[in-house]
């Protein structure tokens, strides 16, 4: 059965290692939905989060392939439901003065920050699960979206050794 799977990879923080990791996913045809990368807790190491539509066996195979790369320290695959995943979206939206109030309402509803505001629009920032971000973008359907930049999801696994965070605030919105 195919479902959301998260691959979490700790690797050396340089373009060559990143290219190797992405390259192996591409050439072995793994069903990648999104990739996000940034610094990890360890200096010099980056955390790469890959979302896939795949079963656990496929995820494990991807992890074993990634682990062969010199510069990849660890790779593991876990069902998306066993982790917490968040992505960030920045949206530059066109809205005439008469629609600013409506835009503000949507922003409030989704706890979206207004990073910049100009005469005929604004830049909004929202974060949450993929579904939440998509819901936010749907809520903006009536507006012209001039530019959307999404980070791709980053995720951490809920493991027994760590407390499970209860930050459902942004999810409480319908």
């Amino acid at each position: 059965m195919s479902s959301g799977l998260t691959l979490s990879v700790l690797l050396e923080h340089d373009l060559v290692t990143f290219a190797r990791a992405v390259g192996v996913l591409r050439r072995r045809n793994f069903p990648v939905k999104s990739i996000a990368v940034g610094p990890s807790a360890s200096p010099g190491l980056a955390r790469l989060t890959i979302m896939m539509e795949a079963d656990q066996a496929t995820g494990d195979r991807a992890a074993r392939q990634l682990e062969k790369i010199i510069g990849v320290r660890e790779a593991s695959a876990f069902p998306a439901r066993d982790g917490v995943a968040r992505e960030l979206a920045l949206v530059r939206v066109r809205a005439g003065r008469e629609h600013h109030a409506e835009l503000l309402d949507i922003a409030l509803l989704y706890k979206a920050a207004i990073l910049d505001e100009f005469v005929d629009g604004a830049i909004l920032e929202v974060s949450g699960s993929e579904a939440f971000v998509l819901s936010f973008l749907r809520a903006l359907d009536g507006f012209e979206l001039l530019e959307v930049a999404r980070s791709g999801a980053v995720a951490v696994e809920r493991t027994s050794g760590l407390p499970v965070p209860v930050t459902h605030t942004s999810e409480a919105v319908p």
Partner: protein, 561 residues
């Protein structure tokens, strides 16, 4: 004690420290500082090839024959890109090769400088690892690590790209500093898994051992033989597993897969247990994986965890090098026999006389070759029909005496590959056997053999076709022989032009004299065999079909519509 050395001198020193005695290469602009330093190190033998592809294949052949990393050297740009096929070949067949390439100076990188190519980007998928040396301070450790990575775990090619200005930089060199060891990422075989494997081996009714390249890479010949003899389980050897188990042994069954004997493939399809030792269940071995060994549980002994479950599901995976894991397994496996099963397999055997028109058959040639070398010979084969004949018909007895490009199927491998093999085995007759297609891909290397006095003996099975492709066209493409007829030069005259002794054999009764004469001449020699033009390799599993569906004879002639 430190010395002030150039980067190029450091490279030579590291090669010495790594025990390198020979390398294969071709100079050019961006690698000139290295070549400038090389004469200061007279024990580093450099073999000048005629094309960089041959340097990579020769390094590969050297590595496979010696078990130590083979080294090839090329300049930036076209020199480096010419290595690509050789590196991909080594990657697919897990051969430890270290490739050193020159690169344009650092301040020119990224500016499309003359002979600049992103060889790190190009070779990323076909090397185990590669590195651009950005700092002369890191040169020795990068190069030392390249050898360690190439050698350790599952071997493979590593490329080190050294900008010209880094080769020229001066540095205080302290001699060998033991670099960072390559982190071991493999897990030992778990006792519970070993027990389960032993239990499966004890209770199976129809077990088979399938032995692959891992047996040769780990030198697990004795362990494999011990497992087979203790249990009576018949042994199948894959193309790269050939010569991992003596073929005269009563438990030896043969080669499986696309051109495997019918009884071998039928045995696989009826087996209830397959003990896979150091193989990756390549599609040429399994046929359609969905229909592969439908009744069998699989014990997979494998060094590379990413191979487990990649092509076929494993019931039990035992991770580690074949030698170690077989030893662990042998401690858990008790004696048994497989008499009934072996009798059943014997019942599947059919005597099949090879069908060749004319009397010069591949079988006959290989038999004479075996007799004339008294079984003491390493054969390097190329790719195609002759490769299958050599794999199936030559009686391999001694470990690691069959060297070929398996995974990538690289035509043109045999001639340069044999140069490396011969340098690794100076006391052994080395025969490069090619078809007329593959030979013409790298025949320029005869010049290398002459200049460097490397006595490789070459055999060409000349049928005037790209025979394996022609066979596929005959079987699956309505006999439309598109672009497969291939003209050849007069190989005897060509050899003569290179200063190589040559003979042409047209009839079986000329075979022995020609092989003997080629063996006797001190230098390289060539024997061309004019074989039946449209001979086919039988049996054959059509691509994508299951092992149960062999083609065993000539297809019916086409009936005009």
């Amino acid at each position: 004690m430190t010395e002030l050395l150039t980067g190029a001198q450091v490279m030579c020193r590291v090669l010495l420290e790594e025990g390198v005695d020979v390398m294969f290469g071709y100079p050019g602009g961006a690698i000139m500082p290295f070549y400038h330093a090389l004469p200061e190190f007279p024990t580093l033998r450099h073999v000048l090839v005629r094309h960089e592809q041959a340097a990579a294949h020769a390094a590969d052949g050297y590595a496979r024959a010696s078990g130590r990393p083979g080294v090839c050297v090329a300049t930036s740009g076209p020199g480096a890109t010419n290595l690509v096929t050789g590196l991909a070949t080594a990657m697919m067949d897990s051969a430890p090769v270290v490739a050193i390439t020159g690169q344009v100076p650092r301040n020119m990188i990224g500016r499309d400088a003359f002979q600049e190519t992103d060889i790190i980007g190009i070779t990323q998928p076909i090397t185990k690892h590669n590195v651009l040396v950005q700092d002369v301070e890191l040169l020795a450790s990068h190069l030392g690590e390249a050898f360690a990575i190439a050698r350790e775990g599952r071997p493979g090619p590593v490329l080190v790209d050294v900008p010209k200005d880094v080769q020229n930089q001066k540095i205080e060199y302290e001699g060998r500093s033991r670099g960072v060891p390559v982190p071991a990422k493999r897990l030992p075989a778990a006792p519970a898994d070993l027990r389960e494997a032993a239990e499966l081996i004890a209770t199976a009714q129809r077990p088979l051992i399938m032995a692959g390249h891992g047996v040769v890479l780990a030198g697990a010949y004795e362990e494999l033989r011990c497992l087979a003899e203790r249990t009576g389980i018949p042994v199948i050897t894959t193309l790269l597993g050939i010569s991992g188990f003596p073929e005269s042994h009563p438990l030896h069954l043969g080669m499986p897969g696309m051109h495997g004997e019918v009884h071998v493939n039928r045995a696989i399809q009826q087996a209830d247990l397959i003990v896979g030792v150091g193989l990756r269940f390549d599609d040429r071995v399994t046929g359609n994986t969905a229909a592969f060994a439908p009744r069998a549980k699989i014990i997979h002994l494998e060094l590379d965890p990413s191979e487990v479950g990649k092509n076929v599901p494993a019931t039990v995976a035992l991770l580690g090098d074949c030698r170690t894991v077989l030893r662990e397994l042998l401690r858990a496996v008790g004696p048994r026999d497989c008499r009934a099963w072996r009798a059943e397999i014997a019942g599947l055997m059919k005597s099949r006389t090879e069908q060749y028109r004319g009397d010069l058959s591949p079988e006959g040639i290989l038999q004479v070759l075996d007799e004339e070398t008294e079984g003491r010979c390493t054969i390097v084969s190329d790719v195609g029909q002759h490769q299958m004949w050599v794999a199936k018909l030559y009686p391999y007895e001694r470990p690691n005496t069959h060297i070929t490009s398996g995974g990538l199927g690289t035509m043109g491998f045999a001639v340069p590959g044999a140069i490396g093999v011969r340098l690794a085995r100076p006391d052994e007759p080395v025969w490069a056997i090619s078809g007329d297609g593959g030979f013409q891909m790298n025949m320029q290397e005869m010049a290398t053999m002459v200049q460097e006095q490397i006595p490789v003996k070459m055999a060409i099975f000349n049928n005037g076709y790209l025979g394996m492709v022609r066979q596929w066209q005959q079987f699956f493409h309505g006999r439309r022989y598109s672009a497969t007829p291939i003209w050849s030069p007069d190989y005897v005259k060509l050899a003569e032009a290179y200063g190589v002794a040559g003979w042409r054999v047209e009839n079986a009764d000329q075979t022995r004299a020609a092989i003997r004469a080629a063996m006797v001449v001190p230098g390289p020699a060539l024997v061309e065999f004019l074989i039946e033009q449209e001979a086919n390799v039988f049996p054959m599993i059509p691509p994508g079909a299951s092992l149960s569906e062999p083609i065993e004879g000539e297809p019916a002639p086409l009936v005009p519509a």
